[in-house]
Symmetry: C2
Subunit: 193 residues, 2 copies
């Protein structure tokens, strides 16, 4: 059945970027080779170890739609309307860009609940992947997430932007599936209901 999952690369101390928005050390696993993982976006290709490559292929093949925050969309200029994962993107934003027709495969919606619902429709039998920390936090809070995925980088950033934030309660997960990659430990946790 179709699932809603979150996936981020995170430092051991819980950050997806340092206070200066630098992600170089935690994304070392994207460039340690030897397996080239092509993407739907010609400008992006990764060199990862065998185990990470398989994890990435499974994640990519399973994803029928992505949900992103507006900030990530702006930073990447909407991935040129061609997200590396190869799936349509639903962007959570209060203000639809005026030139929205530049991104015909991209959908703009006003809140996280609506975005996940829209992404589910687009994804059909496939999964919805949330790829922004801010959106992931809201979706977790709303109880919309089935699986929490983390690529845990062997790095302490000391400070920065957290993957998770105040939920106002403890959230229990099941024990994870574990894939030992090079420069990233890939963990997939089911959210306990």
């Amino acid at each position: 059945m179709s699932k809603v999952i979150t996936h981020m690369t995170m430092s051991l101390d819980g950050f997806i970027a340092d206070p200066d928005d630098r992600i170089d050390d935690i994304f070392d696993w994207y460039a340690v080779g030897p397996v080239e993982v092509p993407s739907a976006n010609e400008g992006v290709s990764l060199l990862v170890d065998e185990a990470s490559a398989e994890m990435l292929r499974d994640l990519t093949d399973g994803t029928g739609a992505l949900v992103s925050g507006r900030r990530l969309f702006d930073i990447t200029d909407g991935w040129g309307d061609s997200h590396p994962v190869g799936a349509p993107v639903v962007v959570v934003t209060h203000h639809v860009p005026e030139n929205a027709d530049r991104w015909p495969r991209t959908t703009f919606v006003g809140d996280v609940g609506e975005a996940v619902a829209r992404a589910r429709e687009i994804a059909g039998d496939k999964d919805v992947t949330i790829a922004s920390a801010n959106v992931a936090q809201q979706a977790l809070d709303l109880g919309l997430v089935d699986d929490v995925c983390v690529s845990l980088a062997p790095v302490l950033l000391g400070a920065g932007i957290p993957y998770f934030a105040d939920l106002g309660r403890h959230l229990l997960l099941e024990d994870p599936e574990v894939v030992q990659g090079k420069r990233a430990l890939h963990l997939r946790y089911r959210v306990r209901r």
Copy 2:
């Protein structure tokens, strides 16, 4: 060779206790059985899964001295001078308790560097284990830690007391040794020099 290691149980979002100092959910792995792990302290005995039991035995057998913060010492009343790990404890504190002779196996020293040095002497060929987040943070900052150990609980606490804190720089670790326990994923990272 003798090493200095840190070990804490941590939630996936990086906390060793929630804001109310509650640790129940992240320490579920101490009570899921079926293996009873006795301790040097008669009042304390754990029921963990087979893999966790082996990890705990290795950690306990390898530890020749512990370093603790004053707060943990006070909360536990100095473990009745008999820490569950079965090794002497060096407590970092600016004020030696007046009735210090109540804890004849316990050493009180004024700062983290001195405490680690003293613990190394006591430990001899065995390892020094740091079991307080605050002391671990300072020791990491001082470059005194060889291995960072985490028992990663499948729980999001949302907020609380962090295992790690601002180091003022990125700290790179090696890829971890991984032991998949029940209700805890045991990770051991060597600090990259």
